[in-house]
């Protein structure tokens, strides 16, 4: 068999497996979200209803739309700020020699390995004394700090692969480091930058513990906590609501991912990378 053929078969099988693997549980989620009874594979029958979707949007006490809005604002701010902060740090570490380069990089990484539960008490006190409890900054600031190592390391791995010749030449022409960073490195690093933004956005979107402890109601609470609030007094789990809410909540993320794909894959930049 020719190489092209093997490749084609592998690709087809791989793609099929990938889609089934990733989507089956999600399809099941959607099935539960439009089913009147979550146990339709057991004793109940499958009755299609859109009640769950209607309910979560219209029942005021669930505050679904408030939580969604909060999540979007918080995550977008975090993703953008964090990506910029991380990119500038990654640029410095990959291009400039300075004392503490390695300790700082490793230190930032090491700090991110602490379990969140051990940090939450301190953050609560801090936010309380700053009067920020139940506001967006109470979530945005810790989220940036908590996701910046991920962004930093993704971008470090990416930027360190961009050849130095380009920026060296610009600097020789008298451009400042800031200008080189903005005009040359950032555009070339776009694929890395966008995958970092995407992953950070999702991380912030999904964070639970900080959001639970640092907010007290729907004026700043985010989706995961909002969904956790659906649960009833004795642990009744309104599966339909939960699944409908998560399906709706994942829409912005999927859209974002689709939009960003264009930037993640940039054939033009390939020539600029060292081999």
């Amino acid at each position: 068999m020719s190489e092209a053929r093997v490749r084609k078969i592998l690709l087809a099988v791989g793609t099929a497996f990938m889609i089934v693997f990733c989507l089956t549980p999600f399809m099941w989620m959607i099935a539960v979200s439009v089913s009147k009874y979550p146990d339709f594979l057991g004793s109940q029958s499958f009755v299609v209803t859109f009640r769950n979707y209607l309910d979560i949007i219209t029942i005021g006490s669930l505050h679904f739309l408030d939580h969604l809005r909060n999540s979007l604002i918080v995550s977008a701010t975090v993703a953008l700020a964090c990506a910029l902060i991380a990119a500038s740090a990654a640029y410095a570490v990959s291009r400039l020699r300075f004392r503490g380069r390695m300790p700082i990089s490793l230190g930032v990484l090491a700090l991110s390995t602490f379990p969140q539960i051990s940090l939450v008490g301190y953050l609560y006190k801090l936010m309380r004394s700053l009067g920020l409890i139940n506001t967006y900054p109470a979530l945005i600031l810790p989220y940036i700090a908590w996701t910046v190592p991920l962004g930093f390391w993704i971008l470090l791995s990416y930027i360190s692969r961009i050849p130095h010749d380009l920026d060296d030449a610009a600097i020789a022409d008298g451009a400042s480091r800031g200008l080189v960073f903005r005009k040359i490195v950032l555009p070339i690093a776009a694929p890395g930058l966008f995958s970092a933004i995407l992953l950070i956005f999702i991380a912030a979107f999904n964070e639970f513990l900080f959001a639970l402890m640092l907010t007290t109601d729907h004026s700043a609470r985010t989706i995961p906590v909002g969904i956790a609030l659906f649960q009833g007094l004795h642990g009744e789990i309104p599966w339909g609501y939960i699944m409908a809410a998560s399906t709706l909540a994942s829409l912005p993320l999927v859209t974002l991912a689709m939009v960003f794909q264009r930037y993640v894959i940039q054939d033009i930049t390939r020539g600029a990378l060292k081999g």
């Binding site: 099941w28 004392r99 390995t113």
Partner: protein
Amino acid sequence: MPARGYNGRTAYIFIAPMLIVVCAFVLLPVGGTVWLSFLREVTYLPAKFVGLGNFSRLIRDENFWQSLKFTAAFTGVCVPLEVVLGLCFALILNERIPMRNLIRATILVPWAVPTIVSARTWELIYNYSYGLANYVTQAVGLSDQPINWLGSPASAFVALVVADVWKTTPFVAIILLAGLQTIPEGIYEHAKVDGAGLTQRFLKITLPLLKPALAVVLIFRSIDTVRILDLIYVLTNGGPGGSTTSLSLLGYKYFNEGDFGYGSAIAVVVFLLAFVLSISYLRATGFGKVFK
């Protein structure tokens, strides 16, 4: 000004924002946690400095060793699976397949669903009487009796692995995909002309050039797996019989019951474990060269 000479001031300006946020919101609480790990800090007892007392207690604590074993096994199984699968996904997505953009977005779905929800989804899938898993195994004829997925230590372990791999493979794929973008097409063409086959090209070109991205993926996946909490909290809460208690879950319990000293000591162990793993990945992938 030499382009690659010592360049402290400029560098610190670039790096300052990151250092400030990390110090204020991570370094200080981490310092507090480390300090607590040397105390007997129980909400209703007077605080007392006990030196390494909490750690020597850990060494004698059977539950700690059980959790450590579980966490090590879980990390050892999940991370390689996720990386291999994620690499396959990234390679496929890097090809010109039909509806590439749509497919790229859809494989992100598992990562995009909040953990608290995906854990619940798996709880429903593994449900004994009306879960999807039993429905499928029975429909395909793999088993004529429903299986109690979370019922034995071994099957609960597998169930957790599947749920974790499903959830995090897209994360791996996205980072590796960005890494693949840094490999110029031209190199492959050269190799093709030189008569290198598919496997050879993968081993000789793709893998070496992907090392930095692989290092990042290995590090962050290992960190997250070593401190895994939510998924286990929802699916097994450490059962059956405590066999799936991760270190983080153990620590979480102590934080929750009011023993902050012992909980902090466990947090410190989680940190050490994750850190040692991270360093060894950096070594193994030669990523340290960045700092040369």
